[in-house]
């Protein structure tokens, strides 16, 4: 392998910079190196994060004055919202952590490579082309509710292909953790992030096929009959759950794993309650129950005592258990700081802030599913998704900065990253929290016009738009810091963050 690489480098040097570039691109496209595949996932997901945040910013601007502003035409609005939601969940949240896990987990296990590297590579390309198919179909009026029949079919195929890609990546990760560990490394000895990668991958592998099954029905119906699922108008009502809670809980499991991994490093001590952290991560995986059953149970205290108990139990099972797991991970991780001698590091700040934002999102979801709160159909749900996705994004940036020496051989400037962490935190809160308030004021979800309510409509939406702008700034700033570190930074021992 080494000989081949050297040979290619020598040849390209002789042929000039142009062909060296082509060879380099070819090597990236066909590489089965897990770090390259992981970085491809991460890079594309960050690009998708910028796209999603720009869409959020545009929606925020348009909602400032629902009666006058018109950035998107009336018919295009539902489809652009579909693109926005797809980009947030399947463009950012899910692939970002799959990519980080593919890049990092084999090194934590002491494995030479990820299990089935070609499968992981297929996963990236399937996900990318699936996402592109979704983009193309929606731009061509083929998203949910779109008028172009063929492009609606393309949309369904795109979502399915993206899901298949994520499944392939998850299968590689789970199999690696289960079979490719170094001799002597039993499952209870693996690092917390690898544990969360195993749990998150299996949860994904058990929940996404349910979505694919729904897409098969929708596709068969849409291409032939259009009488069972309501044609193009019915897609969101049958597939919408996959872009919402508790499905998104499945994708943030690894975000909590990042905190569990980084906290002891920051505190310069061992995690005293490591089994409890691993159990906490395991408890979060109960979210798969809600995802696979497509259920976010509403807490309704109407009816008999038996009805109330049943409703409370189901609500606790589907919303409370994942929250309990997250709280355990965060609290026990913070315990490290008390035991050890902590220092302020950007990876820890990012992962902690990300985890806290995720918890606010999960709490919000609990409130959203409270019937007495009457939040169904309001923008409150969008606020919940944004807390989870942007919280996950902050955690992912923490993970990338923590493992930058491993992935790029360079460390990112800690002070500048801390500044970015604060901007990211502010962006997440501004993008999400005003929608919580607007939700209580009955601002409808997935629409930009035709609503009005008592209260500062413009203020909430200006703040939300500003939050998205700050998220764009955070992602672009992070990439700029990374490029700067790679170009000008001193080489760092890879073992420092392995």
């Amino acid at each position: 392998m080494t000989n081949i690489d050297t040979h290619v480098g020598a040849t390209t040097h002789a042929q000039g910079a142009g062909s060296a570039f082509v060879v380099s691109i070819g090597q990236w496209i066909t590489s089965s190196d897990h770090k390259k595949i992981g970085r491809l996932f991460v890079g594309t997901s960050l690009l998708s994060a910028v796209l999603a945040a720009v869409l959020g910013l545009l929606f925020g601007l348009e909602r400032i004055s629902p009666a006058h502003m018109e950035i998107f035409h009336g018919d295009a609005t539902p489809q652009m919202f579909a693109l926005y939601q797809f980009a947030l969940v399947f463009g950012v949240l899910a692939p970002l952590f799959v990519g980080i896990a593919i890049a990092v987990v084999p090194t934590q296990l002491g494995a030479r490579a990820i299990a089935f590297p070609r499968l992981a590579q297929f996963g990236f390309w399937a996900w990318l082309f699936g996402a592109l198919m979704v983009d193309v179909s929606i731009i061509g009026n083929g998203g949910p509710g779109g008028g172009a029949t063929d492009l609606v079919d393309l949309y369904l195929l795109g979502v399915a292909l993206a899901a298949v890609g994520l499944l392939a990546g998850s299968l590689s990760i789970a199999t690696s953790v289960l079979t490719a560990r170094a001799p002597g490394m039993t499952l209870d000895r693996i690092p917390a992030f690898s544990w969360s990668a195993l749990i998150g991958s299996i949860a994904t592998l058990l929940s996404l096929p349910v979505m694919i099954g729904t897409i098969i029905y929708l596709y068969v119906d849409h291409t032939h009959a259009q009488l069972v699922f309501g044609g193009n108008k019915g897609i969101n009502s049958f597939l919408g759950w996959s872009l919402s809670q508790p499905m998104t809980f499945v994708f943030v499991i690894m975000a909590l794993g990042v905190l569990a991994e980084v906290a002891p490093v920051t505190a310069r001590t061992e995690q005293p309650l490591r089994p409890v952290v691993l159990a906490g991560i395991g408890i979060i995986s109960t979210a798969v129950l809600g995802a696979a059953t497509q259920s976010a149970h509403i807490l309704d205290w109407a009816g008999t005592n038996s009805d109330k108990v049943k409703s409370t139990l189901l609500h606790s099972l589907f919303n409370g258990l994942p929250l309990l797991g997250m709280l355990i991970v965060v609290l026990v991780s913070l315990l490290c700081l008390k035991v050890g001698t902590p220092r302020v590091t950007a990876p820890f700040a990012l992962s902690l802030l990300g985890a806290l934002m995720i918890i606010v999102g999960v709490l919000g979801n609990g409130l959203y599913n409270l019937k007495a709160a009457s939040l169904d159909g309001t923008v409150f749900s969008e606020g919940v998704v944004l807390y989870l996705v942007y919280g996950g994004l902050l955690s992912a940036l923490g993970a990338l900065s923590h493992w930058a020496p491993l992935l790029w051989g360079r460390a990112i400037d800690n002070t500048k990253l801390l500044g970015l962490a604060l901007i990211g935190l502010l962006g997440t809160i501004l993008a999400s929290f005003p929608l919580y308030i607007a939700g209580f004021a009955d601002q409808p979800a997935n629409t930009v016009m035709g609503f009005d309510y008592d209260g500062p409509v413009a203020l909430w939406n200006v703040l939300a738009g500003l939050g998205h702008a700050l998220i764009v700034l955070t992602v672009v700033g992070f990439v700029a810091l990374l490029i700067d570190a790679v170009r000008n930074g001193a080489s760092v021992s890879q073992e420092a963050s392995a």
Partner: protein
Amino acid sequence: MTIALPAAPAPAPRRQILVATAIACASAFMLIIGMIAMWLKFRAGAPTRDSSDGLKIIKDWMPAGVKIPEVAANVMLITFPVGALMAQWASYSAKRNDAPHRSLALAISFLIGLAVVNAQIAVYSQMDIGLADGQFQTMFYAITGTMLLLVVGGMAFSLVAFFRSVGGRDNDVDVVNAHALYWYFLTTAFAVVWFVVYVQK
């Protein structure tokens, strides 16, 4: 700080294909279960009407003229365990380095897959329903078509394992075991589909 690990020694085989197949089977089972759940939901939501004598309530789910060929469906149900048995025979032979029997068993499991496909086509042909004829028909084709695709996947697995066996890979026990596991999965998944779609309708 997490302690960095040294470069790993040559990885010992740890049933990587078998473990991956087990996870993939669990995933595919969720696919079938999800589709079955959707089927049950639509069936439960189908409109009801009184029978002509007013004594019974009839659910308008399966159209009156549609008849499911139970013989072909039952033959499929019996065929799947035979396929799993052949796959287990291949696994048994592989453990004993019995290459001829291993190859023979894999070839038979491929042929059994072919028989299942034939039976499914017979079911479609005897039912003579159009995909766009109604709710039941569309969902019937979607769920049985997905099952058919999984069977074709099993046949491809049999074929790959067979050619590896014929090609002299005597240490291929992991692949043959994984192949057997996949056939057990197919048998279980079809049993569920058979009970809900072909028996309960």
